[in-house]
């Protein structure tokens, strides 16, 4: 079996030009292969570059060196050098992302936010609505909130809307940045169920999980990040 995604010799350093051009090495010689149906967990202390690596896999951060290859049938697309519109096309139906915090179009209702990725892929309004409602119910987002914009929701409620959106489509690749961080144990358990079901259908998942018990339930293997001290050295 061949991987669905390969990160090869990834390097990235932030240069903070307006703070004396301080250099922050964040990813050094990262190599990662991700296969369908498995969940790889990025493991490392806070500040070790887990989110930066995940964001790079989504094209949200630009790596300095290396390749980020996404399987496209018989071919590979390199995210590190792809055009903006190629990345947008990939995000539409190939790579799903649940960010650490909900950042969406303001003023859209929770239901619309979850439906949006489905509508963009030509799924009918009624089907999209049904799926969105199932997901929001599964994640215990109270029905009275569905028609409201999440700006005023609690952190946990916002995060559950975010998760519902991320699982609305059966993306072949799913990137999850601490999806359970602001959730209680029961809701975290509901998210674990979604992750296990996604693996079952063959999704390749890369995740960051704060809670050891969540990690133990979903992880097939760990990818160890370098220690921040090593990076700086």
């Amino acid at each position: 079996m061949k991987p669905v995604m390969i990160a090869k010799n990834i390097n990235k350093t932030f240069v903070l030009h307006n703070q004396g051009a301080a250099r922050l090495p964040v990813l050094r010689q990262q190599n990662l292969e991700i296969f369908a149906g498995e969940c790889v967990v990025l493991n490392g202390s806070s500040g070790s570059g887990k989110s930066s690596l995940l964001r790079s896999l989504y094209g949200n951060y630009q790596v300095d060196e290396g390749e980020l290859l996404i399987s496209q049938g018989e071919q590979w697309l390199d995210l590190a050098t792809a055009q903006a519109r190629e990345i947008i096309a990939l995000r539409r139906n190939t790579i799903g992302w649940v960010s650490q915090f909900l950042r969406v179009i303001p003023r859209l209702s929770a239901l619309d936010i979850v439906m949006q990725p489905m509508l963009e892929n030509g799924i009918s309004d009624s089907q999209a609505k049904a799926k969105a409602e199932t997901l929001l119910s599964h994640l215990n987002v109270p029905e009275r909130l569905w028609s409201l914009a999440p700006a005023t929701f609690s952190g946990g409620e916002q995060q559950r809307v975010n998760i519902a959106r991320g699982f609305a489509l059966d993306y072949p690749i799913l990137l999850l940045d601490e999806p359970t961080a602001s959730l209680d144990k029961h809701n975290a358990q509901q998210v674990v169920e979604l992750i296990l079901a996604a693996k079952q259908r063959g999704a390749a998942i890369v995740g960051i999980f704060h809670d050891a018990w969540v990690r133990d339930l979903v992880a097939d293997r760990l990818h160890n990040m370098q220690q921040a001290a090593q990076l700086a050295g």
Partner: protein
Amino acid sequence: MTQLAKQLEEPRANAANQAEPALLQAQNLSMLYAPGKGFEDVNLSLYPGEVLAIVGESGSGKTTLLKTLSGRLAPQTGSISFQSDSNTAELYKISEAERRSLIRQHFGIVHQHPLDGLRPRVSAGGNIGERLMENGWRNYAEIRLQALTWLKAVEIDQSRIDDMPLTFSGGMQQRLQIARNLVTHPRLVFMDEPTGGLDVSVQARLLDLIRNLVTELQLAVVIVTHDLAVARLLAHRIMVMKQGQVVESGLTDRVLDDPSHPYTQLLVSSVLQQ
């Protein structure tokens, strides 16, 4: 990683449709009124349905560049080609008359100040209908029906069809200007700070409207704004300008979340965290 080398032998894919040609392509474009005033050596391609935001501080050359891209200001050097159906037109090689006709048929141009893009002494319906007549519509009833449809689409009460734009609020004028530009279904729309002079609450509503229309009509848009939040909301791609130079460009969220140029970092860090 032993299989890696073999896997990499395979050809690289292009996720977006490679056969699809760019709608607008600019090469080595320059237009300087004085050193640093205008724009220099701009290259860009815009594809159907793509929204590109040009951002940068006041005086960086955004409006000048937009004028040149939309056929209203000849560049000193470089070329722009526009692809319509199967024809390619070099925007500044064709005659003035041909360029005007191309703009009329295929471009929408939304000015920062709505009254620059409206006829103040022609009714709202007339402002919309005029664009249809320019494109060969003759049937009065049909034109009026289109005007009503478009007033509704931009959330202007249809009973205002015979009123003059001068009696409208700034937000309504801007929505009317948008209707006037979209009624002919252009492929490409240029907007210069369309929410610039409006109150914040009016801005939000106008932005939602623009976002909906752009997605529904699959418009390609070049929008000039100094507001990064507007760019984040509407644009697929961003081009950052400083003193006439494009200093950074790319996917909107990449440029805003991981800015690499000192000037982009400064711009991003001066915005309050949302």
